[in-house]
């Protein structure tokens, strides 16, 4: 006969999850702003060496990337374990660098061509023979501005092995 219904005892009220999407969206926007789309799928191991006297490489549209390193595990059977060069999603030979640079230059506006930089993303385990070959090729096509892309860190720490 009571006018006021007694609260049902026992089961807890459901916790509101309404703010969960907001939090996730916040994360999402952070990632959308702070990152860029991956350009190339790496088919090689690419652990960059560390250095601390680095310069930032701004203006991504003026950078051409050359990757080099040991083929990653799923390509090992096909391409062996020797360090190789990767240009635009596929393995390449040293002699193909000239054509690659020419293609990159053709895709840019003409007045920007002198400012193009070649970023060498070379695995720290690679040897200098390959890097020297790349540098020699770049000299032949007059792409003289290069950048050895590195991680930020102490250059000497990784050497003791």
């Amino acid at each position: 006969m009571s006018k006021f219904k007694k609260k049902k005892g026992g089961d807890l009220p459901a916790i509101s999850t309404a703010s969960l999407p907001d939090i996730v969206f916040m994360l999402l926007f952070f990632f959308m702003v702070a990152t860029v789309m991956r350009q190339n799928t790496l088919m090689i191991e690419n652990k960059l060496p560390a250095a601390d006297q680095v310069e930032k490489l701004d203006k991504k549209d003026l950078v051409m990337y050359i990757y080099a390193g040991k083929p990653s595990q799923r390509y090992e059977s096909q391409y062996g374990t020797e360090s190789r060069i990767q240009l635009n999603d596929k393995f390449a030979d040293v002699s193909e660098i000239a054509a690659f640079i020419a293609a990159e230059r053709a895709s840019k506006r003409e007045e920007l061509v002198p400012f193009l930089t070649t970023a060498l993303k070379v695995d720290s385990k690679a040897n200098m023979g390959l890097v020297s070959d790349i540098k020699q090729e770049l000299r032949k096509v007059n792409a003289l501005k290069i950048n050895y892309t590195t991680r930020k860190g102490d250059a000497l720490s990784g050497l003791k092995n």
């Binding site: 996730v24 990152t35 789309m37 310069e55 930032k56 701004d58 385990k125 000299r139 007059n142």
Partner: protein, 212 residues
């Protein structure tokens, strides 16, 4: 009549959708590590074969062999050095100031050893590596040489422009920062160029040796 509140819309799946998007972005994007050591390659010029005469004491010759050991030849001496000692050795060499007369170096603060370099402008760092040298050792050596140059340039920059409250590297970063105003850039550029002329980076790389 009792007021009926509107039924709550179930937003439980909204989080799932947002998570889906988030994971998509996590997978397809990278936070780029776009920083590194910038270098300029020498142009390939076949008919440039005249010999330049350089005094032996002005060359800081480094060789890295296939076992990643570092050999330093300077002032008629040869010794094997560790990479961790390279920066100090390079600074000592560049900052030596052993020149006399027209080669005298008024900004150098080194020991003025007559067997080491004359002045900043004369000092040359040369590096030769083996084809089997590991890339990370090469980068470490490059990094240390650059660090030595930066150390001296920082010192000279602070000495020349004490009221700017920054050193050469910071000024250079500020110069390449797109947020810096163009008038400030102009004045920074002038100062940076002056230091670059005072302490030029003379760094040469020889063709790598074939290892056998």
């Amino acid at each position: 009549m009792a007021k009926r509140s509107a039924p709550e819309v179930n937003a439980g799946s909204m989080a799932d959708i947002a998570f889906l998007l988030l994971i998509f972005f996590l997978v397809t994007t990278t936070i780029e590590t776009d920083s590194g050591l910038s270098r300029k390659l020498p142009p390939l010029d076949e008919n440039q074969e005249q010999d330049v005469i350089i005094k032996e004491k002005n060359i800081f010759q480094l060789q890295v062999n296939k076992n990643n050991d570092l050999l330093l030849k300077t002032g008629g001496e040869e010794k094997v050095i560790e990479i961790k000692d390279l920066r100090k050795a390079a600074v000592d060499f560049l900052d030596n100031g052993g020149g006399t007369g027209s080669d005298a170096c008024k900004n150098c603060q080194g020991k003025r050893n007559p067997k080491s370099s004359d002045n900043f402008d004369k000092a040359i760092v040369s590096l030769q590596n083996d084809r089997a040298t590991k890339y990370d050792v090469y980068i470490a050596v490059q990094n240390e040489i650059l660090a030595a140059y930066n150390q001296i340039r920082n010192r000279e920059f602070v000495k020349a422009y004490p009221n700017l409250n920054m050193n050469f590297v910071e000024a250079d970063q500020k110069y390449s920062d797109p947020r810096t105003s163009s008038s400030e850039k102009e004045s920074l550029k002038e100062k940076l160029e002056a230091i670059k002329i005072l302490v030029p980076q003379k760094f040469s790389e020889a063709e790598p040796k074939k290892s056998n």
